[in-house]
Symmetry: C2
DNA sequence: TATTTATTGAAAATGATTTTCATTATTAAA
DNA sequence: TTTAATAATGAAAATCATTTTCAATAAATA
């Protein structure tokens, strides 16, 4: 087993309560794994790690949990074009800060960058406000990706 | 058959020449279809239309052509999380202007928006310059998506 | 405690995308 | 031109991520 959540419960557990979703062992394991990871992980990545911790956890449940977390806005789902989805905590207290992506169209390499967040914040904030109003959308997250060719491929 | 390219060749044909790629009937049909479409189409969408025009064109070739065009930067490939990739011309002279996406996490609806392009242009241009320099990347395109819940789903 | 409801995992089904391979069309060379 | 090399094609088979089905289990509620 692994150490339990600290104190009265992790930040995400309240969200579960609100949704009437149960806090189960498999779900805790998935959340723990996401907290420990800096990378964008695939469902299989999560499954493999989960399986090491608790071999009874099935791939289906991993998919279901990841999907649920995505819909709750706790996890962000990415598709970089290599056929499998990647998942990442939106708010990882210990982990990597919010970042954007630079994707090579030939070799599919993904570079995370965190620079220029100040300029970005300004732009995103403004746009987000305008969009939510205009389209009556409750915006919870965003993604910015640049495409092109990396040093090796250009 | 359908009308041939006007004059000495469409803009994309030069790109083909440069790459040593042949301008074949199936490829012309795929390009034509993309030009006629405003939507983000799936490979199957393209295949169905291509098939109406020329029933000998196979799905495999559609995939291959789309992939090739993506790598050439002529087409942009999107994944919105519904399991199939979408493709769209980057420069569609007659078609829709460059736009960004507003995606509902529950019902998966995709809204295109084109507002606020002036602010965006400024932000994107600046960031793009900085990134190309810093990471020695040849940036050809970008994508911005906002996630959240639409009117019905929130 | 009994009963309803949510969650789970295994196995099967689905469905998009890739690979294989033999054939055909195109270009380059002789 | 004719020929040799190469690129492109399509059908069928193979892959592989993701979903669905369904019976079993666990948790919440009456």
């Amino acid at each position: 087993m692994r150490e339990k959540r600290c104190g009265r419960g992790a930040w995400w557990q309240d969200r579960f309560q609100d949704m009437g979703a149960r806090i189960t062992a498999p779900r805790e394991v998935v959340l723990d794994i996401l907290h420990e990871t800096d990378d964008h992980v695939s469902a299989t990545d999560v499954y493999v790690k989960a399986h090491e911790i608790n071999p009874t956890i099935g791939l289906t449940t991993v998919y279901r949990t990841l999907d649920m977390l995505t819909q709750m806005g706790i996890v962000q789902k990415f598709d970089f074009g290599d056929g499998k989805s990647r998942y990442e905590l939106v708010n990882n207290p210990d982990g990597k800060k919010h970042h954007h992506h630079l994707i090579c169209l030939r070799c599919k390499t993904i570079l995370d960058y965190t620079e220029f967040l100040d300029d970005e914040l300004e732009f995103i904030g403004k746009t987000q406000n305008r969009l939510s109003k205009k389209y009556n959308f409750n915006i919870t997250d965003h993604a910015i990706s640049f495409y092109g060719f990396c040093e090796q491929c250009k």
